[in-house]
Symmetry: D2
């Protein structure tokens, strides 16, 4: 879990966080998820593995308002050799109300954008935390 505060730059004339702000919270969520497990996306990228997003889904349940403190809960979805899914729940820290949920699907590629399996140690780390999947093995 990590936290983020809604900044003025994140809000729109409706007085709520713009829908794009969720992408920033999600990025923060998955990067801190990795860091809390001893890895960073920076190291991953330095080692030649990139994880660009190929699919994004967001569901906005309630508005996040200016200056509210948010808790970002991140978990792994199914992990396959060349694909990783992260799932997010953003709640209002003060009362735990769910504001936004979503998921990002990442391809594992090399610097030229070609499919490239996760390094073994990272794959093992992710597998250990991955959600059970109905379709494991069908990558």
């Amino acid at each position: 879990m990590c936290t983020a505060r809604v900044l003025y730059v994140d809000t729109d004339p409706m007085g709520m966080a713009h829908h794009g702000a969720a992408l920033r919270w999600f990025e923060q969520g998955r990067c801190e998820w990795l860091r809390q497990r001893g890895r960073t996306y920076r190291d991953l990228e330095a080692a030649g593995t990139l994880l660009p997003i190929y699919e994004l889904r967001v569901r906005y349940r309630r508005p996040a308002r200016y200056d509210e403190l948010l808790a970002i809960h991140t978990e792994l979805g199914p992990v396959r050799p060349v694909r990783v899914v992260f799932r997010y729940r953003v709640v209002r820290q003060a009362d735990g109300v769910l504001l936004v949920e979503g998921e990002t699907h990442h391809a594992c590629v090399d610097r030229q954008g070609r499919p490239w399996p996760l390094p073994d140690d990272l794959h093992a780390l992710l597998q250990a935390h991955a959600a059970p999947s109905n379709d494991a093995g069908h990558a």
Copy 2:
């Protein structure tokens, strides 16, 4: 259709547009779609109808690169009294290759965030352009 150019501020260390840039292209797409039909979102909002996004889906097919000119194709999905769906296809202007596609689902609400039907004239305008739907009338 409208166009956008990939700015430096839109790009990331992979040399491609960050996934968040798509949200900007989508907003531009639906606003110009309305404008080309004689309406603006500004007028809609001034008249008391807001269209916040409650669901967002994006599929990234190929990277959009710095300085590329993009064509944004927008069309309406199903229209219901209190919900509107817009769909987008962002293609590289130079060769027509599909880069990003997605959709935004909008609730029709008043300034207090309560469900609020579209004004009749806008509803009629949208209906006239709406994609056929299997589930029309089930809103």
Copy 3:
């Protein structure tokens, strides 16, 4: 002082934080400065006082790189009845190297954008922390 981490969305193809990211760090700096003194910009705005920026200056000393943790040091410049200046120094947390410095000049206005003096209690609070000024009293 508060901290921020350089996210992927903040970085550009040069591998460093885009110059626009500094504005976010500055906003975070001044909001946390207020909060640490028992006030929030949200309350200020709720009470009818807005502080839009009318001048911005930024000096980029060294690049801030992806995933670096930054310390944002904020202090007040001269305070006058209808103008406030905040100054910022953003340093790399790991070694204290100065990366960015700048200042934002804010007008005090009401909701209609007319000049409007700071509430007395906030003015007193700011005065107590303000940098000495050669031109105090000439507002």
Copy 4:
């Protein structure tokens, strides 16, 4: 000259464009300035010359509001072998009222961030359009 429209994502709870939006307009301004003279920043960068901003100044004269069409006027300030200044005036297209003005100071560096003179042909092109300077030759 080029144009930009104020998007919803650019605006804040005051109903005006957030101060950060100016940086996007400035980038668009200088890139189109180059393009209209037969060059692109992309080509420049591909040839190994980068132009990171080391100083930014913005003066906000009047608010830019949602959906307004803006005209961005760009001109060159003094040009030196390893430094370039661009100046901007952003006016409301409808009535020519000045909304924002500012300038960006760019260093000419190579990919490693070391000072690197502009390519001769670009230097000549910029010189031909540069504003007269009191301090030319003192770079």
